[in-house]
């Protein structure tokens, strides 16, 4: 399959690609230049640009965190999992159910709490959920989001993907679309399709005066940064320090050979799903903590951006996923400097992804599988 790409890539495509790279590079350079000049001469407000960068970074961390899992399953099982976004949503619901329970035990019925208030009534604001007021509930929620999703994702693998182990990437991709559909609406069935607020408003925040305005980072922004970075670091260490990481690379290289080498491939696949799922669930939980709302399809809406990040960074590379997430997040927000309003943020992300695919289909960190 990819030999054809090789034909074009290694062949005549080279020059057009370099040309494209040049054009894109030039474009990026001009935009950056414009941004700097604009800031210097006051056309663009510094604080506004800074706010975009901060927002974008936070968003990018979530995309990147969720992206690591997608990237891992993508490279080891060799398929683009379209259900990953809904894993993110599931995780958020699992985790927030627990947060509600811990924070609001007795304040409402068990069902109401564990289903994250499927109906109006006692919600996050009444339970005063915030890292400052209910740190334990949030920690418990995050933990459950991670572990619960890991187990849940493993279960899905057992039921859905395991019987198809030998199939190619495309049948698996199609199947994952089915999983995505089913899962998303099962979430609606169980949790209802109501959007709800999950946290207390008016959180303590750290405000920074930046020449012409404020940039504020509240405690949940901070929590997101700390938790996301810690999780990323944790995964990094886990893959570096244990032979799991190498085995994963070996498997993404050549699954049959791994099997006869004595690597317990099923066990590695299990771990891959579980780590990927756990990260997806945690990302979902943190996203909800950060935005303060939860609904049944936020993960799905995030999915294409996660794909964009993973492809941008290069499939199979966790640094690639993180880096890709940050680029996507920040550029989406920065695009608003030139294209005000939210109309073009997503378009910007997709265009960047398509450009990268055209110039460097293996992604920025492509080939360097960095477990």
């Amino acid at each position: 399959m990819s030999t054809v790409d090789t034909v074009i890539d290694r062949g005549r495509g080279m020059t057009t690609e370099q040309l494209l790279l040049l054009v894109v590079g030039l474009g990026a350079f001009l935009l950056l230049g414009d941004l700097i000049i604009g800031i210097l001469n006051g056309t663009y407000s510094i604080s506004r640009v800074a706010r975009y960068v901060v927002e974008g970074t936070l968003y990018g961390l979530i995309i990147g965190l969720a992206g690591i899992g997608l990237s891992m399953t993508y490279s080891i099982l060799n398929f683009a999992n379209f259900a990953h976004g809904d894993y993110v949503t599931s995780g958020a619901f699992f985790g927030w159910g627990v947060t509600y329970l811990v924070a609001g035990w007795g304040a409402a019925s068990f069902g109401h709490l564990v289903l994250v208030a499927p109906q109006r009534g006692v919600g996050g604001a009444q339970l005063e959920i915030a890292i400052t007021s209910t740190p334990f509930a949030i920690m418990a929620g995050l933990l459950v989001a991670g572990i619960g999703t890991a187990l849940f994702v493993y279960l899905i693998d057992r039921i859905v993907y395991k019987p198809m182990r030998g199939s190619g990437g495309i049948p698996l991709l199609i199947t994952s679309i089915g999983v995505a559909f089913a899962l998303r609406y099962i979430i609606v069935f169980v949790y209802s399709n109501r959007t709800r607020g999950t946290t207390l408003g008016g959180l303590p925040s750290f405000d920074l005066l930046l020449v012409d305005g404020w940039v504020s980072i509240d405690v949940h922004d901070g929590t997101l940064i700390v938790a996301a970075v810690a999780l990323m670091l944790g995964v990094h260490l886990m893959l570096q320090r244990t032979k799991l990481g190498k085995a994963m690379r070996a498997m993404s290289d050549n699954r049959d050979l791994a099997l006869v080498t004595g690597i317990p491939t099923e066990q590695i696949i299990r771990w891959t799903w579980m780590i990927g799922g756990g990260l997806a669930g945690s990302a979902g939980y943190l996203m909800v903590l950060w935005t303060g709302t939860i609904d049944w399809q936020f993960g799905w809406l995030l999915l294409l951006l996660i794909f964009a990040a993973v492809i941008l960074g290069g499939i199979g590379s966790i640094y690639g996923a993180i880096f890709g997430g940050l680029i996507i997040g920040i550029s989406m927000h920065l695009s608003m400097v030139w294209l005000p309003g939210g109309d073009f943020t997503t378009i910007t992300a997709f265009l960047i992804m398509i450009l990268v695919l055209m110039i460097k289909p293996s992604g920025l960190f492509g080939g360097k599988t960095t477990a």
Partner: protein, 278 residues
């Protein structure tokens, strides 16, 4: 093209080596270079193949034989050097253009279209089929012409099937064929293009001896009809017995070139390739 180009490959080269029968050179490769990242797979290889002859291309693993084929037939674009076919510069040609010129290659591992029948496989390569234009295939009046061509083509396909003695599997799916039959199909398919020269990449690798003899017979028959062959092969006996000339590649360049006898006694070749024992 690239700085590694050794010298102008044009006339001067030929002039330096006054060859009275210049037209008899079917394919000439000059200073071919191909790099993959840090690896230089082909490093300035130059050689010529005479028309109507059967030439062997040998060399150790990784010498760059397959890569040379890839560069000649446009699967890869060379980083330097020129390729001429029948006097025409075809460097950096696209694979499909290559077939247009009458230069066709087979693959080291047979690449049949597994889900198409043998007949479909053999009808596929025919060149200049007007039915490959969408509108002709669809519009009624043009369609008649297409169908006529198809009938003619089918006749030819049967001739080729007969030639290779595989009529009995005509309606079989290619994916169900045995390894040997696949090799036959691969070669038959190349012939359907009506090429002038065939590049065969290890056509006998993994083919059992009986079948091998049969294939060789076919090849000799074709040679008599005027086809030119360039064959990559590891089996020295086969090369010795069947080729007029042998080219030895080593580390991306041509180490020696000449009649089989001279090659086997060439010190360098023995050292680099044949090892102590022949």
């Amino acid at each position: 093209m690239s700085d590694t180009e050794i010298e102008s490959p044009e006339v001067p080269n030929d002039a330096a080596d006054p060859d009275p029968q210049r037209n008899d050179i079917e394919l000439s490769v000059d200073g071919l270079v191909k790099r993959f990242g840090g690896i230089t797979a082909v490093d300035g290889a130059s050689f010529e193949v005479e028309s109507g002859a059967m030439t062997g291309l040998i060399g150790p693993n990784g010498a760059g034989k397959s890569t040379t084929f890839h560069c000649i037939t446009g699967i890869h674009r060379p980083d330097g050097g020129t390729v001429r076919f029948q006097g025409r510069d075809i460097t950096g040609i696209r694979p499909y253009e290559c077939a247009d010129y009458g230069l066709v290659r087979t693959f080291q591992i047979a690449r049949e279209m597994a889900n198409m029948t043998v007949l479909e496989n053999l009808m596929l390569p025919a060149q200049n089929q007007s039915g490959e234009q969408l509108w002709r295939s669809v519009l009624p009046f043009a369609r008649q012409e297409v169908e006529r061509e198809e009938r003619e083509l089918l006749e030819r396909v049967w001739e080729v099937l007969e030639f290779f003695e595989i009529e009995h599997i005509a309606e079989e799916k290619a994916g169900n064929l045995s390894g040997g039959q696949r090799k036959l199909l691969e070669m038959a398919r190349a012939l359907m293009i009506e090429p002038e020269m065939l590049l065969l990449d290890e056509p006998f690798a993994g083919v059992n001896p009986t079948l091998e003899h049969k294939l060789l017979d076919h090849i000799h028959e074709l040679r008599e009809e005027g086809y030119t062959f360039l064959i990559v092969e590891h089996d020295m006996d086969l090369i010795m017995e069947n080729c007029e000339r042998v080219i030895v590649m080593h580390q991306g360049s041509v180490l020696a070139e000449g009649a089989p006898e001279t090659i086997t006694s060439n010190e360098q070749v023995i050292e680099a390739y044949l090892g102590g024992e022949v």
